[in-house]
Every structure is written in structure tokens, then in C-alpha cells.
């Protein structure tokens, strides 16, 4: 029973990673860049919910929608100002810019809201679920997190495969030049990708903080990096891959915390990354990169 409880909590944590990883993987697949500032969007979303809901007493749904809007606009703005001028530049330049944006957001948050930890109140106000006569208790946050990310993943997969903007995203991902020649506005598609990814990050932030209620300006950094590991683990560029990678990583992390060592759990997560890169560099569901000779 104890094991089951750890497992469920791992799946819940993994669902948050999955939501963040979806943003990573979509931006990588379409803009061909690693947006290391993605994790910090979570933090911004967290502060929006904190000030409007936890402190301001706003309706949680309204507060959530506001956070999504703010993060979406932030994501589009970052792409427009920091990344678009570098379209066509070396990938290393873009990568370093992304790290710079990440520091900018973290330090900006510190300046605006101080580094003093804020205590977050859960946006989920439902009772916990008791199973097996009370021997297994699953918190409402856990359930909401898992269900939300599952729904989002299915909607996203449907969107990418069945709508005109979704098809355009796939086309840009595969061959930007050819897509342009089909009349697709590549910049608009990349903006859309950042918008979706950042909106998801806002949701991930609120859910993460509902389960782990300490909010500081660096709150998003570690989950962001872990979500990146999850995206690589599942096969970066693949939407189901990000989801599977996220869930597995959450489980691995929580079970190592429970059975191996709390201090070592992060090390184990990154060990997973190293092993994946050694054994299957393209990730669990990633496309195998074939080099033509």
C-alpha cells in the first residue's frame, strides 16, 4: 500500500514534468531550439496565481486563466524579442540567449517580489480520495494533476494531427523551407508554439505549487531542467514521448526518494539522462536519426 502511494505521487509529479516537457519538446521540434527559460515561465505563472488567488482571493478558475494569459503573452514576447532576431544564427548563440533569458526572469522576479519564500495555497479545494478502506489516500491535487495533463496531451495530439495550424506545425518541424514555400508563415507558427508551451507552463506551475507549496524566484529552475531530461528521455520532439518521459521520470524520482535516498534522488534523475544518452540517444519514442552516407 505504501508503494502504491509513492507510485501515485510519482505519477502526479511526473504529470507536472510532462506538462512542462510538452512545451520543451514542441519548441524544440518546431523552432529547433532548446528554450532553457521555459522553466522560469512556470515561476511567473506561479506568482500570478499567488497574488491573484492566494492573496487576492480571486476565483481559482479566473486566476488560472489570468496566469495562462500572462504566461502566453510572456512566451510570445520572449520569442519575439530574444529568439526571433537569432533565427538562422548558430544554435549555440540561441542556447546561450535562452540561458540569459532564464537568468533575467529569475533575477527580475527577485527584484520585483524579493527572494523571500511565499507560501502557496492549493488551487484545488476538493477532498482527498480514500481507497482500500482508508489505507491508501490520494490527494485531490494528485488526481487533478494527472487528469489535467492527460486531457491536455490528448487535445494537443489531436490538434497537431487534425487541424490546419497543427499540420502547419508538423510541416515547419520537418522542413522549414518547404513549409514556407507552401505559404506557411513560419514566424507565426513558431509564435503559436511558444504560446501553447507557455500556457501549459502556467498550468504546470499552479499544479506543481499546489502540491509543493513553496514559491521562490527559482522555483521553476529545477522542474524545468527535469522536464528537459524528461523530454530527452521520451524522445525530444515527440509529444507522446514528452508525456511518457515525464511520467516515468516522476515515478523514478519519487521511488528513489522513498527507497534509496532523498538526497540522491536528483542525482538518480540525471543519471537516467546519462544512461538514456548512452543507450538510446533518440529517446524512448524519438525518431532515430539516420545519417546518409
Amino acid at each position: 500500500m505504501q508503494f502504491l502511494s509513492y507510485l501515485v505521487r510519482g505519477i502526479s509529479l511526473g504529470s507536472v514534468y510532462a506538462l512542462i516537457a510538452l512545451g520543451y519538446t514542441m519548441v524544440y521540434g518546431i523552432a529547433k531550439m532548446l528554450n532553457f527559460a521555459h522553466g522560469d515561465i512556470i515561476m511567473v505563472g506561479g506568482y500570478v496565481v499567488f497574488f491573484t488567488f492566494c492573496q487576492g482571493g480571486m476565483n481559482p478558475w479566473l486566476s488560472m486563466i489570468l496566469a495562462i494569459v500572462v504566461c502566453t503573452l510572456l512566451g510570445i514576447t520572449i520569442e519575439r524579442i530574444a529568439y526571433r532576431p537569432l533565427r538562422g544564427a548558430a544554435s549555440l548563440a540561441v542556447l546561450i540567449t535562452a540561458i540569459g533569458v532564464s537568468y533575467f526572469l529569475e533575477n527580475g522576479a527577485m527584484l520585483l517580489w524579493s527572494s523571500e519564500p511565499k507560501s502557496f495555497t492549493s488551487i484545488v479545494s476538493l477532498p482527498a480520495l480514500n481507497l482500500f478502506g482508508g489505507s491508501l489516500q490520494i490527494s485531490a491535487e494528485t488526481i487533478v494533476t494527472i487528469v489535467t495533463s492527460l486531457v491536455i496531451m490528448f487535445v494537443l495530439i489531436w490538434f497537431v494531427n487534425n487541424t490546419r495550424p497543427g499540420h502547419a506545425m508538423q510541416a515547419v518541424s520537418e522542413d522549414r523551407g518547404a513549409a514556407q514555400l507552401m505559404g506557411i508563415n513560419v514566424n507565426a507558427i513558431i509564435s503559436l508554439t511558444f504560446a501553447i508551451g507557455s500556457g501549459l507552463a502556467a498550468i504546470a506551475g499552479a499544479l506543481l505549487l499546489s502540491s509543493y507549496p513553496t514559491l521562490v524566484p527559482t522555483t521553476g529552475a529545477m522542474p524545468g531542467i527535469k522536464a528537459f531530461v524528461a523530454a530527452v528521455f521520451g524522445g525530444i520532439g515527440s509529444i507522446p514521448g514528452a508525456f511518457v518521459g515525464g511520467i516515468l521520470l516522476g515515478i523514478i524520482e519519487n521511488l528513489s526518494k522513498a527507497y534509496i535516498s532523498t538526497q540522491l534522488s536528483d542525482a538518480i534523475v540525471f543519471l537516467v539522462l546519462i544512461v538514456v544518452l548512452l543507450v538510446k540517444p533518440s529517446g524512448l519514442l524519438g525518431k532515430k536519426a539516420t545519417v546518409k552516407v
Partner: protein, 256 residues
Amino acid sequence: MALLEVKNLGISFGGLQAVQGLNMSIESGHLYGLIGPNGAGKTTAFNMLTGMYTPTEGIITFDGVNITGKGPEYISKAGIARTFQNIRLFNAMSVLDNVKVGMHNRVTYSMLDGVLRTKKYRNKEAEMNEKAQRLLDVFGIGDKADYAASQLPYGQQRKLEICRALASDPKLLLLDEPAAGMNPNETQELMETVRKVRDDFGIAILLIEHDMKFVMGICEEITVLEYGKTIAHGDPQTVSNDPEVIAAYLGGDDED
């Protein structure tokens, strides 16, 4: 005025003048050939016409509008579509979806329509599917609609590329070495396809090709490039008897 009017077009990369002084005038419904030895600047010319490169000199007028220096999206919307020398399909997508991407700017609905699956979304998608299917049927690959593009044999991938280009309802279709890598039978079949496209869709076609039999058999007017310069121009008869053209081809060291 002709559909496409190219005046004194040129581009240089650093010190290299890849194309210079190119003049072409293509009427609606015409089959026009652009030929020349490897490295003559044919694909470069295509890249300027489709907005991939910005010309350093000259003017391109399409359908009465100056499109010089405009981006690929604009030019695609204006009505020029192309295929590629090395096939560039969206391999991971289905054959049908490839054609639908080609319709990107012809059939539109808002993102909200898509997410909410409104009536408009369903109608437009149905319309696109039907139109894409009809195009595939014309090229005899309608039964492969659900295959991944990469699963098609080479000849059919070429046909799919033409389908995808036609999906944008172009007024001018650019074909970059459509017969490359094809055997004589496939080439013969392709010639009929190209003629059929011109006749059925009533559009102008500009093609680059190395296969002389193909070009001479199908084009009504030909421009010959060598080292970026036009060395001959006229109908197939005139061009094939031109001494400079014969020298360029026979004197070339890497032509078959």
C-alpha cells in the same frame, strides 16, 4: 502582359555572379524550359522566383505585380508553387496531409474553430479532404492517401510533390528536375502527366530538366543557361541547333 515577366535578373554571392541578365517571359498556359549544364544557375533562378533568394539586380513581375525581393510566403500566396530537385515532402505526414498543407492559404478557419471543432472547421476540413483526394486521384495515387509520404515509391513521391504544389491553386508551377532519377518509362509517363497538368489546370509550367528528350518533347519555349548567362533562347528546334548550346553540352565534362 505575360504572366511572368523576368527582366535582367541577376544575383551574386560574394564575388560569384551565379545568374546574370536573365530575361524570360512566360504566358499563361505555356510550357517553358530552363536548361543548361550543372552549375549553370537554374536552381538559383528558381530560388529567386520563389523568394528563397533576394535578387541583387533585375525585376520579377508576376501577374502584373512586382514581386522582386518578396518572401516565399507572399509569393506562394501570389500563385507560384514549386517542386524540388531532391524531393522535399513532409515524410512523417500522410500523403493526404501533405496535399492539405499545400492548401494552407486556400482554405482557412481560425484556431478557435479548430479547437472547438465548430461547424466551420468540420466543413472546411471535409472540403479540404475531398479536394486533396481528387488531386491524388488525378495522379493515380488516390489509393495511397493514408500512407506516410516516405512509404511511397520514388516515382509516386515525385507525383505527390506535384500534387502538393498544385493544391495551392498556382497560376505558375515550377518543376525542378522532375524526371531526375526516373527510368525511360517513368519519364514518358511524367511527360504525359505534365502535359495533362497544363491542360487540365490551365496553368503555366516552367521546368528545369537535364533529360533533353523530355525538354525538347514537351516545352514550347526554352532558355539555355551556362555559367549564369543566357546563351540561347527560342523554340526547341532553334535551341537544339544553336552552335553555342551544342558546344556547351558536348564540351561540358559532366553531362550525359
